[in-house]
């Protein structure tokens, strides 16, 4: 149990183990492959548990915002509700519509889920815990994120269902518009830190978090990230009243669950990126004594951002399609350019 509190010790044990393996008879490539498999399993397990928790949290948060109780019957205080849901989804029949393009219908949930797993590789959880120290970390996460959209559009098309198709098309339009705003919003931070490496960006926020230098950038990032992850008020991709379920209307059982896992994995990535770029990453709040290990700080901040995202979802009504496009092209993108210009000007004067 002590190992869990002192992450340094845990890492030491793992390093010893790895060294031991290297000295033994195992060939190098097999060891690398083994490490990759173990890391992938850990990430997928984290995503699954995280999704179970977030779905429950979402229901409870929405319930309290709407003055209800939320799920109460499954387990004490309803905490087993999502576990029961997951079991139900596992048992359901896997249905493929008759006119669907079978291959693409099968591939789409994978194309949505796999890039979400890829993005976790670049996150810096604490000074020592990270899978890979990628020099272009931010770019890598955005590149991985851009792959997932493909799956949503293909899912909409391959279902051979008009609602699904409309959902997929809306998704394409939305993601293309908001990706530009999202990328513009982080350039200010990159300019100040003069690095794309997440590690360097975190350590350069030692004295002052970038939310203080880049309040506009933070707001732009939050709004565009909401749109990129298809969260309300930007969830016109799956607007229930208009499109039944949007791109996943025809999906059932574990394929449906894959879309869900992908969505919540992306919400976590967006929040983790927000924490890393604007809220000092795994560093303690300046001025407060360091009571928790860095990874706990990181998770606290990330889940706070996730809470804000949920809070927004249950507070604001959904935007219309035309409003959505206007917001991105007429407000967010010009403001993003303004933010870059002002940041550059201030840096030049200094």
């Amino acid at each position: 149990m002590e190992l869990l509190y002192d992450t340094g010790k845990l890492i030491g044990v793992i390093e010893n183990l790895l060294q031991h393996c290297k000295d033994s008879w195992l060939p190098g490539w097999l060891l690398t492959l083994g490490i990759m498999v173990v890391v992938a399993i850990i990430i997928v397990a984290f995503i699954a548990v995280n999704t179970l928790m977030l779905v429950l949290a979402e229901r409870k948060v929405s319930a309290f915002i709407q003055d209800r109780l939320g799920p109460m019957r499954t387990g004490p205080y309803g905490i087993l509700q999502t576990v029961a849901d997951a079991l139900k989804l596992l048992q359901k029949e896997d249905i493929t519509p008759k006119r669907a393009d079978r291959l693409i219908f099968f591939l789409s949930p994978i194309i949505v889920f796999a890039p979400a797993v890829m993005a976790y590789v670049a996150i810096s959880w604490s000074p020592k815990i990270r899978v890979a120290d990628i020099n272009l970390g931010i770019l890598y996460i955005f590149a991985a994120g851009s792959l997932g959209t493909l799956g949503i559009i293909l899912a909409g098309w391959s279902s051979a269902n008009k609602w699904s198709l409309l959902g997929g098309m809306r998704s394409a339009a939305q993601i293309i518009s908001y990706e530009i705003a999202l990328l513009l919003s982080v350039i200010g931070v990159i300019m100040i830190a003069s690095s794309l490496n997440l590690e360097t960006i975190i350590s350069s926020q030692k004295n002052c978090w970038y939310i203080a230098y880049q309040p506009l950038g933070f707001l732009l990032f939050l709004v565009s990230a909401l749109a990129e992850t298809n969260r309300a008020p930007f969830d016109i991709v799956e607007a229930e009243q208009e499109l039944v379920g949007g791109f996943h209307t025809e999906y059932s059982a574990m394929k449906f669950a894959m879309f869900f896992l992908g969505e919540y994995a992306n919400v976590f990535i967006a929040s983790a990126l927000c924490t890393t770029l604007f809220l000092g990453g795994w560093q303690a709040v300046p001025g407060l004594p360091i009571i928790f290990p860095p990874i706990v700080w990181f998770l606290i901040k990330t889940y706070l951002v996730i809470f804000v995202i949920m809070w927004i979802r249950w507070t604001y009504p959904r935007v219309r399609v035309d409003q959505l496009m206007n917001l991105s092209w007429k407000f967010l993108i010009p403001l993003g350019f303004l933010n870059i210009g002002v940041t550059g000007l201030v840096m030049a004067i200094k």
Binding site: D101, L103, I104, L136, A172
Partner: protein, 159 residues
Amino acid sequence: MEIAFYILSGMAVTSAILVVSLKNLVRAILALASLFLSIAALYILLSAEFLGLVQTLVYIGGVILLFLFLIMLTENLFEERQVAFFQRITGVGLVLLLFGIFVSIFMKQPFQVIPKTDYSIAEIGRLLMTDYLIPFEVVSLLLLVALIGAIVIARKEEE
């Protein structure tokens, strides 16, 4: 390293063949995405990480999405594409011409192995803003012209 190169090249060539041979347009685009992805991986393998990531971001995140979007807007979605005979002939002819040009360039140009230089993003940015500023601006202008041209064409049809 070498094994990875052969796997990725094989993926790229297979996807490229699929792109031109598949009858279903959406499947062909999926193959195109796989082609772009394997080329991006090749760039990363050759330690041009920036190029590889930008390739993914621009081509798969942007170009492929636009392709899908346009096909869904214009084509009859569940029919297979028809390719006329003369289209095939011109296509094959153009590809052979392009291939010949590439081969002749490869033959003429002596490829020297460049010593490992600084491929960092800072260096790329510095070069784009100093030595290659004018070509860079010209390329941006070209893109802008293409964009305006597309809008003009789209507008005319509306009237």
